[in-house]
């Protein structure tokens, strides 16, 4: 699905990287543990997390995951938003909890990004 549909389904606010919205995404990984993202997530997937710090952006960048959705209404700092813009990462924030986000996206066809 297009990332713009992800935004609409999750009623999310886009904070950086709007130019990615017309790109397609096929899988997602929901996790607050960045160690596990680095171990188990496929590249090009959406990263859904309730953890908000710079290391989330570093993790996504190193794992080639260009779109991040902060759940549970978590908002990154202005410094993080600038960092995301500089790295050309799509960052959104949604009021839904992680479980709801995963459920909504899965129901609409997004697969789990498990690196097997």
């Amino acid at each position: 699905m297009k990332l713009s549909l992800v935004r609409d389904l999750l009623d999310a606010v886009v904070l950086s990287g709007e130019s990615h919205l017309e790109e397609e995404v096929h899988s997602g990984f929901g996790c607050d543990l960045m160690s596990d993202v680095l171990c188990f997530a496929k590249e090009d997937a959406i990263l859904l997390t309730g953890l908000v710090n710079k290391q989330v952006l570093n993790t996504a960048d190193m794992a080639n995951m260009n779109s991040i959705i902060f759940v549970r209404d978590k908002m990154p700092s202005q410094e993080m938003i600038e960092m995301a813009k500089e790295r050309n990462l799509l960052v959104m924030s949604t009021k839904y909890i992680l479980f709801e986000c995963c459920g909504i996206l899965y129901k609409n066809g997004l697969k789990g990004a498990h690196l097997r």
């Binding site: 960045m34 160690s35 590249e43 953890l51 710079k54 960048d61 190193m62 080639n64 790295r87």
Partner: protein, 138 residues
């Protein structure tokens, strides 16, 4: 080796941790290395950078670029690892709460470095430090 870059990493500096790995990734992109290899080096490099910031008394990461392989050498000045087999066990960690709140310290760093590298070697001595050498085929 035809190209070498060295990055210093300070203990506890979580504000800038990740910068070295980012520079390594950008360098490899500029050199035209394949995305698949870049991802492996980036993840292994970032795991080591976080490990240096979390566990070491300070250290450095050296990237060497050759025609057939890339090499990451991680060296720190202590405190050293008492039991390497235990440290290499997935899920085993000595990280504290502050680190875990950042999303790290799950005990997956060293095993994940080994998984991503084509060749992985670690040696350590208490009171002296730890050295890790990782090689990646281009």
């Amino acid at each position: 080796m035809s190209y070498e870059l060295v990055f210093e990493v300070a203990r506890g500096d979580f504000d800038t941790a990740g910068e070295a790995s980012r520079k390594i990734k950008r360098t490899l992109q500029q050199l035209g290395v394949s995305n698949k290899v870049i991802r492996k080096v980036s993840i292994a490099g970032y795991e080591s950078e976080m490990n240096l910031a979390i566990h070491s008394d300070g250290g450095k990461i050296t990237l060497e670029v050759g025609e057939e392989e890339l090499m990451l050498t991680i060296e720190d000045i202590g405190p050293g690892i008492a039991n390497i087999d235990l440290a290499m066990t997935a899920g085993w960690s000595t990280a504290g709460d502050e680190v875990r709140q950042m999303g790290f310290g799950a005990g997956m760093g060293l095993p994940n470095m080994k998984n991503n590298a084509d060749n992985f070697a670690i040696s350590s001595k208490i009171g002296e430090g730890t050295k890790i050498i990782m090689k990646f085929l281009v």
